[in-house]
């Protein structure tokens, strides 16, 4: 049996075109509203599944986080607001015209529309890549009200994440929990972080590092140890993914 039918709503798909000159856009989020803004929600794909480029991830994250914030308010975005947004997005981001949909249950309808139009196709690897780990760190922080920005520039240096404004915490995210054999790019990532850190005033630093797993290549152990030494010598706090909560406790919160 199915639940009784609720009302009618409208949905739009947020689309991202990595190359504005090419007609190859993909759906990155679904926005669901009703006519008056009584109910509504947004569900976005993991940012790391949309773009591998950190700067693009930062832009997308900023837009999606901004939209999510509006869906936290009361009243929520209405159909009229959705149509306004549809006219305002340009270039790499676009919003499809609102389409009618039944909403027998808000969560079920949102989840179904997400799976139909947005969700990354099944069959992908579940390996904890840097992108996935960064997704988790951002999600974790926001759920607890921590003010965090992804792929953010501070004094001309791009960081994986930045917490707070006045004395920001600069976050580097590294994962050795993959089956990669060559770790030079990860070492370059860590070295860039340490180089940038020396040139940014009034900031704290945190490195979130997923250690090698049993499936990792031996070279991952060596690289993990090497990078760990660099961070220790630079007095950068390092935590594993399950320690992020304690590490960010007391950092700036959203009001």
């Amino acid at each position: 049996m199915v639940d009784s039918v609720g009302g009618r709503g409208y949905f739009s798909l947020l689309r991202w075109r990595a190359e504005p000159s090419r007609d190859e856009a993909r759906n990155v989020a679904v926005l669901l509203v009703d006519e008056r803004g009584d109910l509504g929600a947004i569900k976005a794909a993991p940012i790391s599944s949309i773009s591998p480029r950190l700067h693009e991830q930062g832009l997308l994250d900023q837009v999606i986080a901004g939209l999510e914030a509006q869906f936290q308010e009361h009243p929520k975005p209405s159909l009229a607001r959705l149509m306004e947004w549809q006219g305002s997005f340009r270039h790499s981001l676009s919003l499809t015209p609102p389409s009618e949909t039944a909403i027998p249950d808000l969560d079920l309808a949102l989840s179904a529309l997400y799976r139909a139009y947005v969700a990354p196709r099944a069959g992908g690897s579940r390996v904890l890549t840097k992108g996935r780990l960064l997704d988790s760190v951002i999600t974790w922080a926001r759920k607890r009200g921590v003010e965090i920005r992804r792929g953010n520039y501070v004094e001309n240096f791009l960081f994986d994440a930045v917490v707070g404004d006045e004395k920001p915490v600069l976050v580097d995210v590294l994962s050795f929990a993959t089956t990669a054999q060559h770790w030079t790019p990860v070492e370059h990532d860590a070295a860039h972080f340490l180089y940038a850190l020396e040139r940014v005033d009034h900031a704290d630093a945190l490195a979130v590092i997923a250690p090698p797993t049993e499936a990792s290549h031996r070279s991952a152990l060596d690289a993990h140890e090497r990078v760990g030494q660099w961070f220790a010598e630079a007095n950068v706090a390092t935590v594993s993914p399950d320690q992020v909560g304690d590490a960010l406790a007391g950092t700036p919160r959203l009001i």
Partner: protein, 264 residues
């Protein structure tokens, strides 16, 4: 299986049927131009189905039950997209009234991405500017065996553009005459010129027949069970039992027919 005794089918029917709720018409695609005017809808399970409803009760081929049974059997043997029962509410229909023929309890065929109907395949690949797919022999043989088994008339197939896999669709015209007990007639749906012999090799044909023969009477009974009632469905118990009996009989005589089509 005693196909004269309706008690097993009645027992299955009493369990009720599973229904998937439609949410919205897929805004990126319109309805198909065929007689039954199927239209793509996203449903509560997160899948997109092509819904077929009651366009004209007097002309609805063999009723929605044929489409449902055909899709269920196709899914069992892997010959085509699955079919489910879908409930379409007024809230899920476009307010412009273009899909009101779908209101109620209808049948939905799972959408397959990146496919073209074989009838449109040449035009599709010309429009897209992509090379013609290399037709997959194993799936082609399976679809021939399947459509022969269920006696598909006005048979149609989809071809996946990425790997040439062939899938059987549009089973709404099946089971018009389930009293005949003769051997099945071959149903070979044309795809592209020059592909007539794809899938006719003995290994492909033997594998295909084995899949059909592996369908048990109990699976056939389940395929005809748990169906909505109503004029559009044309699904009284005696008709569904007759379909099941007919399918069981044809399954057992399929090998000889397919062997005649196979090439060494």
């Amino acid at each position: 299986m005693d196909w004269e005794d309706p008690s097993a089918l009645n027992a299955l029917d009493r369990e009720g049927y599973r229904v998937v709720e439609a949410l919205a018409r897929d805004p990126s695609r319109g309805e198909s131009g065929t007689f039954s005017r199927p239209s793509p809808f996203v449903c509560i399970d997160g899948s997109i189905y092509w819904l077929k409803g009651n366009v004209d009760p007097g002309r609805v081929q063999q009723g929605l039950v044929a489409e449902l049974i055909g899709g269920r059997l196709a899914a069992i043997v892997g010959a085509g997209p699955a079919a489910v029962v879908v409930r379409v509410t007024p809230e899920s229909l476009p307010s412009d009234g273009t899909a009101t023929h779908l209101l109620g309890v209808v049948v939905g065929i799972l959408d397959e991405p990146q496919v073209a109907n074989a009838r449109d395949l040449q035009a599709t690949i010309a429009n897209l500017g992509v090379p013609a797919p290399s037709i997959d022999g194993r799936s082609r043989a399976l679809v021939v065996a399947f459509q022969t088994w269920i006696g598909a008339s006005d048979s149609q197939v989809l071809v996946r553009l990425t790997d040439g896999r062939v899938m059987s669709i549009d089973h709404g015209d099946c089971f018009a005459n389930v009293t005949s007990v003769g051997p099945p007639s071959m149903v070979v749906t044309p795809i592209l010129p020059g592909t007539e012999d794809v899938g006719r090799g003995a290994p492909e044909v033997q594998a295909a027949v084995a899949k059909i023969e592996a369908v048990t009477d109990q699976q056939i009974l389940r395929a005809v069970a748990q169906v909505p009632a109503g004029e559009a469905w044309q699904s009284p118990v005696d008709r569904r039992l007759a379909i099941a009996r007919w399918l069981s009989h044809r399954r057992d005589s399929l090998r000889a027919v397919m062997d005649g089509w196979s090439t060494p």
